[in-house]
Symmetry: C2
Subunit: 444 residues, 2 copies
């Protein structure tokens, strides 16, 4: 993309309404604009990051054998009356009536609706196991929306639902989700720690939240420092293997890690003192096993091997897609701006022409732009008539992990400069070598 | 995808509530499930087609230089009060209040919100031209929703908005949209004819609707038969070229083609009688030029070359993404089921194992499955224990354009069968040649 043809409305001043760094940087970098309290429009740069996160979530869900669907944002109140949650849910549920006076609501979650799909179409244990998921906008009428997309009202979430014949099978689905979540977050360059949590309005026995450590996190967390040394890495997991998934769960959850909701001081104090950590975390996902809590009242049953009608065992599993954009920034920034991990960056690299209008510099930039694009990469080329300093500041603010700087002086020596946003280190390379370097980084 | 691990709830019986063929076939093929009146969940097969259409629309929008953003589904009533449309819009607008009693609405369109983004961030003619678009769910509270996704209440739409300094520039944006729409529909295997239309609640002077001819269309259309011979084809269009875009517009709109709203009997009768056609059509898109209708009341101005503040000239341009799924089926089906055009098919081909459990047939199917997947194609392999006839009926119903049939008898002669869903014609080929044939069809 050529910046002269893009829409990147960066702000010079720090917006006063933003209390946390991710909100400030998203506004300054022209990623979002508030549409109304807690509701945001995603401007081009922000939307690209959101789409990258969405793509990774889809890919990892499908890898785990989960099947994508899409349920509507608005739901009929009738389904929620069946489960008993229509009256139980508080004022965070946005309710409305259509022109015929029928009660509707903007879905904050989809247990009822997906159970209704299941009961209409599945009747036999032979069709199990089944996990359906979608990535769809939800609404939660926060009394005091704040922190930008981290605690907005309309938010994008992946929610998945497993249907299994037995509790044992459903616990495998739980474990499988835990494994695939670890992999999902790592691909985004995030360490998200599974912590024993409280089940809240979803209900159920087993639940883990995934937390990203960050000073601005809304939850206080308590953990054994050994847990931050764990890496999921490039393991070749068979998601059908009960043993493999169980093994990963044990590895990642056997050490103490809890949010303040479930914190147990006595257990915590059994960790050697030098490994005890108290910090803050941002919740970016949660998994639940809740058995027959919805299938029983809603009649979601299957015939088992012996011909009996039994309610299915279920769980639900969420990833906060729009919130992750904020969490990523909280975990990856410095005082100049954002530092995107390569896995989610909106553009693979920036090209800064320090002397726009200089024939040689312009031509070199064009060549780099074309070579990178031909390799399947998306560079952002700052081709505007502007001071080099202003161009550097913009690139630093929007956080592209790599920058190629092109100027007449370097070109005289046959080189351009490749700079890492994270370390600030630069390397002088011939233009072709610069392209090869960026391709190598992204493995294309 | 292996059918034994997929969720494809096909129905044996024709649902009685469905009045038109696309609605019937979408229910029977397990593509959608009604969630409430006029609101649908997209089941796996339907969601795949929806995503394919969305992808094509994104690709063609970006090719035309338009920039993707994403605005929220819910909007504040305040913006609509500024434009004067809050009171003017009828009961099709779904209105609600949040917990603080603030008036909100589920956006039926986004002229106000995008104008608000523009006025907040753009101040100079130097930042023009600019076209922002998004693909987002909308809501229209139809008094009597029907025809499935063709006239649902929650629907997915691409809406784009151009901002230009002059009327002339805005008319180029209008033409550019017309060209890119022609290309978009053709890639989906659809002929959509631009017809002079009425501007309705969007307002404005110039507007064309794009209509797909189909017996079940809601509009009566009148046209010169020469228009159906026009093909956009594989033209290499420069979207920046005023002349080229104007040329395409003239080519595709100079012949008579109007909906009943703008039909002019006198003009129509000037066409030679043998070329006069009266038919029915489904609207799948519309483009508008409306000048300063929103920019003036909302203060969306820029500084022009002379330093004057002038309101920008705008237009808006929509493609009915979810409705296209229905329109595609209306235009592509027979009495056995759907016939997907290759551009949007949910799976590139089906593999039918006529004797599941036969070692040789199973192995041949596995090999085909792996070879096609390795080529980047997505086959749907019916690996269930079921009669061959039932498997064929399912493949015909869900409409994959190509089927490979594998059975012990053919394998004895070293062949499998490749069948076209559209023509019914079959070819016997060695398995490797069958893979090559499918790859050739999709150009991979």
């Amino acid at each position: 993309m050529r910046l002269s043809r893009y829409f990147l409305p960066v702000l010079k001043e720090t917006p006063s309404e933003a209390q946390i760094v991710s909100h400030r940087l998203m506004l300054r970098a022209g990623m979002i604009k508030q549409a109304s309290a807690g509701n945001y429009s995603w401007l081009p740069l922000g939307y690209k990051v959101l789409q990258n996160i969405e793509r990774i979530v889809h890919e990892e869900q499908k890898r785990a054998g989960h099947i994508p669907i899409l349920m509507p944002t608005l739901q009929s109140a009738d389904l929620w009356r069946e489960s008993g949650r229509y009256d139980a849910y508080g004022p965070e549920m946005l309710r409305m009536q259509d022109r015929h006076g029928r009660d509707m609501l903007y879905g904050p979650t989809n247990e009822e609706m997906v159970t209704d799909i299941f009961r209409a179409h599945v009747g036999s244990y032979k069709d199990l196991p089944l996990t359906l998921y979608h990535i769809q906008w939800k609404f939660r009428d926060e009394i005091r929306p704040r922190f930008g997309v981290m605690r907005g009202r309309e938010f994008l979430m992946k929610d998945g639902y497993n249907f299994d014949l037995t509790k044992e099978d459903a616990l495998h689905a739980y474990n499988r989700h835990l494994v695939s979540y670890l992999r999902t977050y790592e691909r985004m360059g995030l360490q998200a720690i599974p912590m024993r949590a409280d089940s809240g309005p979803i209900g159920g026995d087993d639940t883990h939240e995934f937390l990203v450590l960050a000073e601005t996190g809304e939850s206080e967390v308590f953990y054994d420092s050994e847990i931050t040394d764990l890496k999921f890495g490039d393991r070749d997991i068979d998601y059908d293997s009960v043993e493999q998934c169980q093994g990963v769960l044990e590895e990642f959850t056997s050490r103490y890690a809890r949010t303040d909701e479930t914190h147990d001081e006595e257990l915590f104090n059994q960790i050697p003192e030098e490994r005890r950590r108290v910090a803050r975390g941002i919740e970016v996902g949660q998994i639940f096993y809740f058995g027959t809590k919805y299938s029983e009242p809603m009649g979601a049953t299957v015939t088992d091997r012996e011909g009996n009608q039994v309610p299915v065992h279920m769980g639900s599993h969420g990833i906060g897609v729009s919130r992750l954009v904020g969490a990523l920034i909280e975990a990856n920034h410095d005082d100049k701006g954002i530092i995107w991990p390569e896995g989610v960056t909106p553009f693979h690299c920036g090209i800064v022409n320090v002397k726009q209008g200089d024939a040689e510099a312009d031509a070199a930039c064009e060549d780099l732009y074309k070579a990178l694009s031909a390799a399947g990469l998306e560079p952002l080329y700052d081709d505007r008539e502007d001071r080099a300093g202003a161009k550097f500041a913009t690139m630093d603010l929007i956080g592209l992990p790599w920058r190629i700087t092109v100027g007449p002086r370097g070109l005289k020596n046959g080189v351009v400069e490749v700079t890492s946003r994270r370390t600030g280190e630069s390397e002088e390379l011939a233009p072709e070598a610069a392209v090869a370097r960026i391709r190598e980084i992204y493995g294309v």
